[in-house]
Symmetry: C2
Subunit: 111 residues, 2 copies
Amino acid sequence: MDQAKALAALSALANDTRLDLVRRLIPAGEKGLPAGDIAEALGVSASRLSFHLSALQGAGLVTARRESRNVIYAVNRGGIGALVSYILDDCCCADPGIRACCAAQGQDHGH
Amino acid sequence: MDQAKALAALSALANDTRLDLVRRLIPAGEKGLPAGDIAEALGVSASRLSFHLSALQGAGLVTARRESRNVIYAVNRGGIGALVSYILDDCCCADPGIRACCAAQGQDHGH
DNA sequence: TCAACAGTTCATGAGTAATTGAATAATGGA
DNA sequence: TCCATTATTCAATTACTCATGAACTGTTGA
C-alpha cells in the first residue's frame, strides 16, 4: 500500500456514516449484506448509502457483488489490515511504542 | 476513545502533508522537533505548517511545547495507538482476521 | 412487455477544508 | 527599548465533501 491508497482509505474511514457502515458489515463477514438491509438498519436514504458504500469500495475497504436484484456489500479485511499496517509500519516507522500501545488495548486492560 | 475522537483522528491523518508530518516526527520521539525545522524539511510555508500541526494537535496525535523561541512538536504515541485500537476493536469488533492480517505485515512477510 | 423492486447516478446547494500572503503575537539578544 | 527571530492567526480564495430528491439502470415476476 502506498501513501495515496492509505490516504484514500483514511479519507474513506473519516466519516461517521462510513464508520457505522464498517461496523455493521464486520459481523456479516464474507457473506455480506444487501444494500437495502444496511440502509434500513442505519436509517439512511438509498442514495446516501450508495454514495458512502462506493467511497468505501473505491478505497478498497469493502467489496460489492450483485445477487439477483440485490447488491451485496462485504467488508474487505485485507484492505483494513493493510491500512492499519500502513499506519503502524510505514507512517509510524514500525515504532515499537505505538504497536505495544495498541496491542495492549486489544487484549485485556485497555487504558 | 469514542467515535467522535476517532473521527477527528482519522480526519487529521487523512491528509498528505499531515501524514508526512507524522512520519517526520516519529524518529524524533518524545524529544520532538521545532516547527521551523519541520517546515524546512518538508518545504512547506510556516503558516501552512502551523495549520496542519494544530490539526494534528487538536486530534491528540501530537503534542506541542514552547522552548524559548521555538515550539517543539512531538508525536503522541498514545493517541495514534488509541486510534489504531479503535479501528481494530471498536469499529472492526476485534475481528481476528483483520488483526491477524495486519500483525502479519508488521513482522516479516508483508503480503 | 409491463410494472414493481433494488440500487446508482446526477444536479443542486450547504457546509467544511486547504492554500496563500499579510498582519499579529511571543521571545531573546544587542 | 529596539530589533530580529519564531511561530500563529486572519482574510480571501479555491476546492472538496456531503445531503437531498429526482431521474435513471438493471433485474425479476406477472
